[in-house]
Amino acid sequence: MKIAQHTDNDTLTLALDGELDASSSVSLDTELTKPDILSYRKVMIDCQRLNYISSAGLGVFISHLQRFQDAGVKLVFFNMQDKVHNVFEILGLDSLMTIVPTAQEAASV
């Protein structure tokens, strides 16, 4: 899993590249655990190159969502591949998290 970071004013974009499983999701968790992240107004997750997610990857997002909400940080996913979106749907997470098609829409959330 490669994670590229881009900051634009009060928005942090993390572009995920690779597969999030029980082995590789640890680095994402480390990134989202950093206290600095709560100083942003929005964290956008670019999923274009996220080819796979298992429950361990979902668990990383599930475990930080409340912490982000409490700090007033919006978590927005965009550019998600259909097969990855399907995994969110199987658990009903698509209705509990903000997932939009494009970067433009993510920026305007």
Partner: protein
């Protein structure tokens, strides 16, 4: 079963198992979504066996067998770790997981929702997990 692989109980082998299953499924030309679901269910079971049943002890092994017969995908994993008790399993409340900031506990829910059959059996010291799903 037709295809078999043996792995040591390390998380780093999850990718090997996913590639193995993808290789078996390749000739059956499933949709991206269905192929991903089957690989995901296998990954979840194997991750549980590695992490929870065998405590990531790399001196221990899992034997994994896979077959596609009569339009049905079948999977079997065999190990001698701690057995899993499905009777103690409760379907997760996602909103509660979010409130509590829980990291784990949704893997078996994915497997149950994806697969047609999910079965755990223990014979002596050997545990067997069997999954199946219609693909035709």
């Amino acid at each position: 079963m037709k295809h078999a692989i043996r792995i040591s109980c390390s998380r780093s082998n999850l990718k090997t198992v996913r590639d193995f299953v993808a290789g078996v499924l390749q000739e059956h030309q499933l949709s991206d979504i269905l192929q991903n679901q089957i690989i995901l269910a296998v990954d979840e079971i194997v991750a549980n066996l590695i992490i929870h049943s065998n405590q990531e002890d790399e001196s221990k092994h899992l034997d994994i067998r896979v077959a596609v017969e009569d339009q049905e995908f079948r999977f079997e994993a065999e190990d001698d770790g701690e057995s899993f008790s499905p009777s103690e399993y409760r379907d997760p409340d996602l909103q509660e997981h979010i409130r509590a900031g829980k990291k784990g506990g949704v893997g078996i829910a994915l497997v149950n929702r994806i697969m047609d059959q999910v079965e755990f059996t223990t014979i002596g010291t050997r545990n067997f997990c069997r999954l199946s799903k219609r693909i035709g």
